[in-house]
């Protein structure tokens, strides 16, 4: 069942990466960054939910045996996913503000034309 989530998250990641590599529109590149991070977050959350052998690091031998017939979700990946979402929001906000400035200076947001710094 979880294989759908794993495949889906990797596909979303690759889709975002594809946008960064191929799209020439700067806003689309930033959308690619966001989609890529969404794929990672989905992977995080799906990985935390495992029906078999789901032992969080905070639970040790005795408790784990008691809880073995009582499955629960690993809380750590959810916390990590929250931090990751936060960082992604910061990166996207900063990148979008840079795009506004790029448009002010160059009059375009096509990466083919924004390449004065080369060699």
């Amino acid at each position: 069942m979880m294989i759908v989530n794993y495949t889906g998250s990797i596909l979303i990641f690759i889709l975002g990466l594809y946008m960064i590599l191929v799209k020439k529109d700067m806003v689309k590149i930033i959308m690619g960054i966001f989609i890529m991070d969404s794929g990672i977050n989905l992977f995080f959350v799906s990985m935390g939910f495992r029906l078999e052998s789901n032992v969080s690091p905070a639970v040790f031998q005795n408790t784990a045996q008691e809880l073995s017939h009582n499955p629960f979700v690993d809380p750590i990946p959810q916390a990590l996913a929250l931090v990751s979402i936060l960082i992604c929001a910061c990166v996207v906000a900063l990148a979008l503000s840079l795009v506004i400035k790029v448009y002010e200076h160059y009059g375009t947001i096509n990466t083919d034309e924004v390449r004065r710094l080369n060699r």
């Binding site: 590599l21 890529m36 991070d37 990166v91 840079l98 004065r116 060699r119």
Partner: protein, 633 residues
């Protein structure tokens, strides 16, 4: 005292971050207050790190700090831990020192800016992020701290938002680095899904005996290629030259002098501690190959630059290649050379960046063809630039010499003689590049418009003087540097099992006594080097290069001014952009460049300035590294 001192590492991270908040909410009139507060915060963090120097470096303890006192139970780490061994402390020392110097000399730079006070919160965030990055003993915290550092570094790159170059460089930096960060995050998750922990020590304890499965090998590939963006190893270096050229020089100093070294730290920590795989020859070959590529392409690209800061950025990439090669050799001598090279790199590149900054401050340009004859006006800066130049290219009596010597010797001893030869060639080319830069900035014809140029201001000349003295002292008295810094760090890199045991409170790894004895014995071997041999080889190579250039000159005597490399530059840069052409270049280097342009011009052309291409290089690195690692491990 000791109980109290255990809080110093976390305080050295918290103080700059907290002060960043305070300086951010102060009004824009209070630039002076912000300046003083930033100096105080970074100095406090530097002093706190120096105060744990004795227990860690001299007594050989490894400090472990658990946030909220969540200690490991039954060898299972549950809390967030800071693990400070000699390697982390060494990097934290470098990061704090370079940040302090950079903040001190940033004052006069920002006098030209409209709202210069905004610089300080960003610089402090970067300081705290870098120190937290190297002190952290937790993979996810390393990721978070890297993001703090990178976001503030991007903001510093785009700081002069009225210049289009800065904005463009900032955009490239944030796209490339977010690809790298995504790789790091994905690698971290792969490891978490397997081991259900994020603590470096606990993951490493599961890897005893190199029992890697495909998932952890893939995670290694993701982590390596992600952190290579931070360390700007070629081909993940796309952001670095542009960011160095566009940012204020004081932050360029932080990028090369500290940020890149933290990236190298991450590579060493992952390979050495997390995966315990520095002794595998397949990993060594990968790292040496990567280092050699970085070293040689960096210096060749530096030769064709027309901007002083961009040239220094490429030289810095080349230096990182030296360091990585040293660690990749993985012998005792190689790691010693790599660590020593780290010391020299941060001193000399910071010195060069401060001098460049002083030149920029007085003349408002760093284009090599516009500058000239500043030596008479700025003798102090010129002298320090020459000191930095000799130091970075490894000429006695400055500090660069010993580390280079150790690296060549390590290359020969480990059976990689061609690595040693390439390293020597790169050293000669580095010197050639810097002599060209020195010639066109400080000597030669003095332009009319620089008549009124004065000496560098005091806030820049004091840090520059300190760094110049350090580079001279490091060359004249290598033994104390070796005893107090290089030896403990080398020992920590070799005996990474001790780090794991100290964090978990277990005894998975017994400290390897044989390696320890070898580290102790190395002192005699290193102090017994013979500078004469080196000078002879150096002279022979210089002579060979002179003959090569002479032949090239004779065969190309009748070529026109517009060489192949330059015309492609003009086409690629657009119709009105002639600023990268160099009309007043002297004969020798024009010939060298046209010769290089014929054979190696493709290197320049691949730097297309297109952000998609640069991201593709990062992804390509990931593909190559993961295929290689999956095949060999």
């Amino acid at each position: 005292m000791m109980e109290f001192a255990s809080h110093f590492p976390i305080l050295s991270v918290i103080i700059p971050l907290a002060m960043a908040l305070i300086t951010a909410i102060l009004g824009r009139k209070l630039v002076w207050v912000k300046y003083i507060l930033s100096i105080l915060a970074s100095a406090a963090s530097f002093i706190l790190i120096v105060m744990i120097f004795k227990p860690v470096m001299m007594d050989g303890n490894i400090m472990v700090y658990w946030l909220g006192n969540w200690k490991p139970v039954e060898g299972q780490a549950i809390g967030i831990g800071l693990g400070i061994d000699q390697l982390s402390l060494f990097l934290a020392l470098i990061a704090a020192f370079v940040s302090l110097m950079s903040i001190i000399c940033s004052k006069r730079y920002l006098a030209h800016e409209e709202d210069g006070g905004k610089y300080y919160p960003l610089a402090l965030l970067m300081t705290g992020g870098m120190i937290g990055f190297v002190l952290s003993g937790d993979l996810f915290n390393m990721y978070v701290m890297m993001e703090i550092t990178v976001i503030s570094a991007v903001s510093l790159t785009a700081f002069k938002s009225y210049k289009r170059e800065s904005i463009e460089a900032g955009f490239k930096y944030i796209v490339i680095s977010s690809v790298g960060s995504a790789f790091v995050l994905l690698g971290t998750i792969f490891l978490y899904s397997k081991f259900h922990t994020l603590n470096i020590a606990q993951i490493a304890a599961s890897f005893t005996g190199h029992n890697f499965d495909p998932l952890s090998i893939l995670a290694l590939a993701f982590l390596l290629s992600g952190y290579a963006v931070l360390a700007f190893l070629i081909p993940s270096h796309g952001w670095a030259p542009d960011a160095h050229a566009a940012a204020p020089s004081s932050s360029g100093m932080m990028f090369s002098g500290a940020l890149a070294l933290t990236g190298v730290y991450a590579l060493v920590r992952i390979l050495g501690t997390l995966y315990q795989s520095m002794d595998l020859s397949s990993i060594q070959n990968l790292i040496i190959f990567w280092g050699v590529i970085t070293m040689i392409i960096g210096v060749i690209m530096a030769m064709v630059q027309y901007d002083l800061r961009k040239m220094l950025a490429f030289l810095s990439i080349s230096q990182i290649g030296f360091i990585i090669t040293g660690f990749g050799l993985s012998t005792l001598l190689g790691i010693t050379g790599g660590v020593h090279q780290m010391v020299n790199h941060f001193i000399s590149i910071s010195l060069l960046f401060i001098c460049t900054g002083a030149v920029y401050f007085r003349t408002r340009t760093t284009r090599l063809n516009e500058l000239g004859g500043l030596g008479k006006k700025m003798p102090y800066t010129a002298a320090l630039f020459i000191a930095g130049m000799l130091s970075i290219s490894g000429i006695p009596p400055f500090n660069g010499f010993i580390s280079r010597w150790i690296l060549y010797k390590a290359g020969f001893d480990a059976g990689f003689w061609y690595v040693a030869v390439i390293a020597l060639l790169c050293t000669v080319l580095t010197l050639a590049v810097l002599i060209k830069a020195m010639h066109s900035v400080f000597f030669g014809v003095q332009h009319e418009k620089y008549k009124g140029v004065k000496e560098a201001p005091i806030s820049m000349s004091i840090p520059a003087g300190i760094l110049g003295l350090l580079s001279l002292a490091g060359g004249l008295f290598p033994e104390p540097v070796y005893d107090f810094i290089i030896k403990p760090v080398t020992s920590a890199v070799l005996n990474s099992g001790r780090f794991i045991d100290s964090i978990l409170g277990t005894e998975y790894f017994k400290a390897d006594a044989v390696r320890e004895i070898a580290v102790q014995k190395l002192t005699n071997e290193i102090s017994g080097y013979n500078p004469l041999n080196f000078l002879i080889v150096f002279g022979v190579l210089l002579l060979g290069m002179g003959i090569f250039v002479f032949l090239l000159y004779r065969s190309k005597n009748n070529i026109s001014v517009g060489t192949a490399a330059q015309t492609t530059a003009q086409i690629a840069a657009g119709s009105d952009d002639m600023e990268y052409t160099d009309e007043s270049d002297t004969g020798l280097f024009k010939v060298l460049k046209s010769g290089l342009g014929k054979y190696l011009g493709f290197m320049g052309r691949t730097h297309s300035g297109l952000v998609n291409d640069y991201s593709l290089w990062v992804v390509g690195t990931l593909a190559v590294v993961s295929i290689y690692l999956l095949l060999v491990l």
